[in-house]
Amino acid sequence: MSSSIENLVNREYKFGFITDIDADAIAAGLGEDTVRVISAKKLEPEWLLEWRLKAYRRWTTMREPHWGNVRYEPISYQVQVYYSAPKTRNPLGSLDEVDPKLRETYDKLGIPLKEQQLLAGVAVDAVFDSVSVGTTYREQLAKLGIIFCSLGEAVREHPDLVRKYLGSVVPYSDNFYASLNSAVFSDGSFVYVPPGVRGPMELSTYFRINAENTGQFERTLIIADKGAYVSYLEGCTAPKRSTHQLHAAVVELIAHESATVKYSTVQNWYAGDEEGRGGIFNFVTKRGKCAGANSKISWTQVETGSAITWKYPSVILQGDNSVGEFYSVAVVNHHQQADTGTKMLHLGRNTRSTIVSKGISAGQGNNSYRGRVYVGPKAAGARNYTQCDSMLIGNRCGAHTFPYIEVGNDTAQVEHEASTSKIGEDQIFYLQQRGISKENAVSMIVAGFCKDVFKELPMEFALEAQQLLGITLEGSVG
């Protein structure tokens, strides 16, 4: 069994190339000046600078959290570069003016920026290091009143919307990494879907960290107004570097009455090499608020990259009858560590949530599911179903489950189940004796294990996710 899975697990990270491009970066280090420089470079209004500074001052009083089930060497926040942008002739008139090298990079990543090359029905916003380099399909979306642009642009063109919603779900004081992000966030995507409008296509952002020692601090804000629907995809890659790179993003989702936001992530940051050198530290705060009645927020994530993942996409179920969902596949191999899960906070009546989490550990990876289901005293008729399953491949990895279930209402119904087991040798044996190679057998079993999550992903992403999983696990059955 060993050789085939080893092959499967040890396949190279194919996005590890470095783009040699001139960058406009500021000096490393962090202080109030850094925050001011970032804000000035982005031509931001005074209120946003003030907000950033408040966040920065709060951050200086906070301590780095260490409750996660992850181990890593201390991060020095002063050697990071907090702003790096590819040098271009600003401002861009059209996507064709994007630096050809940058275009090449995205082509290599399979993210065609040119609209004619797009997969039908996916509008893309690409973020390179710290800035958004181009958003496709804007006009078509604008006709429906949908705003899809970089957050930087939104600050300039739709300041009222940004001011109203920025920090309304993840306040600048939320946690150590969210505060850091609030102080130095560079760019990210902004989506606003007006009342009653259904997004006609998947909106997508591709994040890429390129420059060395650069932290990426993107911030995404998605608002679905009454009765609106939007589906959003996020993908990420980074080059191979021998040092760790910091990624501390914040994502805020707001669903008003009867609105639906679907957020899918395929996270494939560089995971470090087989010895655990390098790789991204992925410390992300993602949270959605079902503000109105009958609203719905659905998170789907496939986490295959990063040296360390620390991420808990959550839903605040405030509106009556609102629905929260979390579907997750997290894979760790070599020395990767993931501490991920979700929080479902039931505040409104008849709120419902579903959590399906699949963890796969291989090599010396450690995978933790950490989840919180809270039912407040007023959340009459709340309902939660949680299932978390872990699969272990190899005897040096670990799988851990830390569910917190807090129920303060007797009409609530909460169910949690979890299981951990080894990849089924009898299943592999069965498939092999039907003429299927060991490698394919493992792929099939893993795909079956993750089926409940993959079926939630938009089609193009589901295929990508399945392939990615194959790459991450290559050679891991031993």
């Binding site: 990895c397 129920v407 949690h416």
Partner: protein, 445 residues
């Protein structure tokens, strides 16, 4: 009982009474109190105490010193008779306010190879076995209350079973608190040593008399199971609802040994039960059952930790809770599988029934797995009675109220069935029936 006060008390204690006993005892006490000074009382930041604040204990003024009015209490046999399961013939040690009472204890003859004696006597007569095990199993390095108990332990029991001894009748330890116990803490300590292939049942009852209030029981039981030994341990905690209780059972299990634990918790204003076991020997296993029935303002916390440290070990765990009034229940179940514990088979389940809108439950089943060839599952549920079942019963002519009570009883009965001692099982059934089904329903069933 703030930490500095405790440290001063310890000096007094060490100077009179605490200093007696074998020569190794005082250094052990000192190590424990030093450890406690370093640890301090746990705060909700401590992951094991996330949902339970011990402020009422930490800020209380419980005196750990011997003497005082609590000591001069004299009870008659009739006073403790209700706690004896109508079995005066069992080997029984009775402790009043944390002090061994020879007159109330049964002098039943110990079968060959069985030692059941109070701790004060054991210090004198069997110091070797105590030295070998006391403080070695119950972990005072990491657990503040165990450290506190180790520093102040004064009375309790030593139970020792020679290899291959199978004891048919249970050994019963009764810890009674009376109104005179108000304001005092009792740190009782029990050591159970089962030789290889020995079998026994130990029952610990924590009860109160005459409306006792405001006392604090901090009990620690250490159990050492030799190869192939089977220990059934029943803890029945029905302390006063105006009292504080922290009780820890910590076991170390040899090859092919089996610990069968049942923990019943219905008393205490703030109560905590810890059941920890280390499956050190290959093929060993633990079966843990628990039932907690809460009402009023009670806060009752159950914590279990099963550490699979050898191959082919198994664990089975079912804890159920019924919460009424504005009570707050906590369950925290940890299953830890070390890398060498291949072929581990673990199952854990926690079910909670909320009977009132103000009741609150926090449950945290936990799996930490470092071996790959394992089969571990856990499940947790919170809910109220099944509407369909209620409807069915109503359609069969059973009144709504009675249907509710019967279903509640049935929920608890699932765990009570696991109790291996018929007398205890019958009493728990009667107790739950009385509590949830009322006299009328009981007569009808």
């Amino acid at each position: 009982m703030t930490a500095p006060v405790l440290l001063r008390e310890f000096e007094d204690f060490a100077a009179n009474g605490g200093g007696s006993g074998p020569s190794w005892l005082l250094p052990l006490r000192r190590a424990a109190i030093d450890r406690f000074a370093a640890l301090g009382f746990p705060t909700p930041k401590n992951e094991d105490w996330h949902f339970t604040s011990v402020a009422p204990i930490a800020e209380g003024t419980f005196r750990a010193l011997p003497g005082g009015p609590a000591r001069s209490v004299r009870l008659g046999a009739a006073d403790v008779e209700p706690f004896t399961f109508a079995r005066p013939d069992w080997i029984r040690l009775v402790f009043v306010n944390g002090r061994y009472d020879a007159a109330l204890s049964s002098g039943a003859a110990r079968p060959t190879g069985v030692t059941v004696t109070d701790l004060a006597r054991a210090w004198r007569e069997q110091p070797e076995v105590l030295e070998r095990h006391v403080g070695k199993v119950a972990d005072y390095q990491r657990t503040a209350f165990t450290a506190l108990n180790t520093a102040f332990m004064h009375d309790g029991a030593l139970i020792q079973l020679a290899p291959d001894v199978a004891l048919e009748t249970p050994i019963h330890l009764v810890f009674v608190s009376t109104p005179e116990a108000a304001g005092s803490a009792s740190h009782v300590r029990t050591l159970i040593v089962a030789g290889h292939h020995a079998r026994a049942t130990v029952i610990e009852s924590y009860v109160s008399l005459g409306g006792a209030t405001g006392y604090f029981t901090n009990a620690v039981t250490e159990a050492v199971l030799g190869d192939g030994a089977t220990l059934a341990h029943l803890k029945l905690q029905t302390e006063s609802e105006r009292a504080f209780h922290v009780g820890t059972l910590q076991a170390h299990q040899g090859r092919d040994s089996h610990l069968v634990s049942f923990a019943y918790a219905a008393g205490g204003e703030l109560a905590r039960t810890n059941v920890y076991t280390l499956l050190a020997g290959e093929g060993s296993g633990a079966t843990l059952h628990g039932l907690y029935l809460l009402d009023g303002e009670q806060h009752v916390d159950q914590q279990t930790r099963i550490e699979h440290a050898s191959p082919n070990t198994f664990s089975r765990e079912v804890y159920k809770g019924i919460l009424d009034g504005s009570s707050h229940g906590v369950f925290n179940g940890q299953v830890f599988v070390r890398p060498e514990a291949q072929k581990t088979d673990g199952k854990q389940e926690n079910n909670n029934l909320l009977l009132s809108a103000q009741a609150r439950i926090d449950t945290k089943p936990q799996l930490e797995i470092f071996a790959d060839d394992v089969k571990c599952t856990h499940g947790a549920t919170v809910g109220r009675l099944d509407e369909m079942a209620l409807f069915y019963m109503k359609s069969r002519g059973i009144g709504a109220e009675r249907a509710r009570k019967l279903l509640t009883y049935a929920f608890a009965a699932g765990v009570i069935e696991a109790v291996g001692v018929p007398e205890v099982r019958a009493e728990l059934e009667a107790l739950t029936l009385r509590r949830f089904a009322g006299a009328g329903a009981a007569a009808g069933s």
